[in-house]
């Protein structure tokens, strides 16, 4: 039963994506929507990304410094480990899990409300491909903005790590040596590539749950929850796959 339900949902998701990826009817209107979504989904998320990344960067640095303190450990270990965690997992996977909560629920509730208030029906009757008109700019906007958010997250995380030096937990010099030790540029690219896939997952799955709402406000709430849960679960599965593929 669970498998049949899962396969049915996946089939409907693919059919919806088939409608989404069509040539826009009016490029001028599409570009306006695209710019709006970049602002709403990307620019409006910069604050939360910077805030969370800053504190997590600081906390990782403190935890590593306190927990693996040993005379046998080189002093750069803290900076090195902080960098690896931030680049390899936090700025892509964990940041996207956080964004699936913020952006995913936003997308699902917006589209769900449009559905129950017949705004989507109004678009359909006008002869507009509502799936493409509403969802494609969200996916494109999110995929465009996510590399910037990932880079901001990395920078803010390192700033948080440096902030701990103000409290004497680690010296700025030791941290700098650690951050630069055996630096592999590919890790930055890996983080960006992973985040692009995750952005697609967040925008498309949340749009699916919002667009297919039937009922009223209770169902819109359920759709928002489903959007966050299923986006997060898919990000976790995709993370395993992408990490093994890209490493």
């Amino acid at each position: 039963m669970f498998i049949i339900h899962g396969l049915t949902t996946f089939g409907r998701y693919l059919l919806l994506m088939g409608r989404v990826f069509s040539i826009p009817e009016k490029w001028r209107v599409y570009m306006k929507q695209y710019a709006k979504e970049m602002s709403q989904l990307g620019v409006d998320s910069i604050g939360i990304v910077l805030l969370i990344s800053f504190f997590i960067g600081a906390v990782i640095c403190i935890q590593i410094r306190l927990n693996i303190q040993s005379p046998w450990m080189p002093r750069f270990t803290t900076g090195y480990t902080t960098r690896e965690i931030m680049l390899l997992e936090f700025s892509s996977s964990i940041m996207c899990l956080i964004l699936s909560g913020k952006v995913g629920s936003n997308i699902a509730s917006e589209l769900g409300t449009m559905r129950v208030t017949q705004q989507i029906d109004a678009l359909e009757i006008m002869g507009v491909n509502s799936a493409s008109f509403l969802i494609l700019p969200k996916i494109a906007g999110m995929v465009t903005m996510i590399p910037f958010l990932a880079i901001f997250s990395m920078a803010s995380g390192f700033a948080g790590a440096y902030a701990t030096s103000l409290f004497g937990i680690i010296t700025a010099d030791d941290l700098t040596v650690g951050l630069l030790h055996s630096f592999n540029q590919w890790y930055v690219w890996m983080s960006i590539i992973k985040s692009i896939f995750f952005a697609f997952i967040i925008a498309s799955i949340s749009s699916y749950y919002g667009y297919t709402v039937e009922g009223g406000s209770v169902e819109v709430g359920k759709a928002s929850t489903n959007a966050v849960v299923y986006s997060s679960v898919n990000i976790l599965f995709a993370d395993i796959f992408l990490t093994s593929l890209l490493s």
């Binding site: 009817e25 009016k26 208030t117 017949q118 029906d121 109004a122 359909e124 009757i125 006008m126 002869g127």
Partner: protein, 252 residues
Amino acid sequence: MIELGNIHKSFEGREVLKGIDALFHEGKTNLIIGQSGSGKTVLMKNIVGLYTPDSGKILYDGRDFVQMSKKEKVLLRREMGMIFQSAALFDSISVLENVKFPLDMFSDMNEADRIQRAKFCLQRVNLQGAEDKFPGELSGGMQKRVAIARAIALNPRYLFCDEPNSGLDPQTSLLIDELIHDITTEYSITTIINTHDMNSVMGIGEHIIFISEGKKEWQGCKDDILTSTNEKLNSFIFASDLFRKVKVAAMQ
């Protein structure tokens, strides 16, 4: 002119429309009346293509909507305007942008002409000065008027109204009815209105079909309705004390 031929529609084995035939005339306000749950909204959703009938024909001036390709349906839909029960305005954009939206999507006018046309439509529904407001800032009646302005922006040949007076006071309902009727005759549109508001029926019902339990029970005009002998129609109309008194007065 819109012609329906033997429309059937079922949901999960329950037949909601049971072979409806009807003719809706150009330049007239055609009303579909019936109790809540009688199948009015399902019928309208079939006519505009939000649902596909299980069998039957829907002819728009001879063009069979059911048999059309997706592309043909999209083109035909550009000749339609619809006013929803909830107005269904796009709440993230202003009133002017709402009315301009169909023009942005489907007209080749330049920006200045599109704005001018949208302002003209707003003027036509007596809403000049509300251009920069957002739908959430408007009353229910004003929202319906914006919906009418948006529906007529592309000069539609067919106008559909799903309970346009729902939630409005009698005076505003009258204004909306008159507006729809005036626009219908002015632009010679085929207008179909779903309603169970008897004031609308008696005010603008030029051609009326009454459906009950998914079947067409009666058709006629507002002048025939009070003298009809159809029992189901009578129990629907004269459920209101006011209309019972009107009938008694008419008979006397």
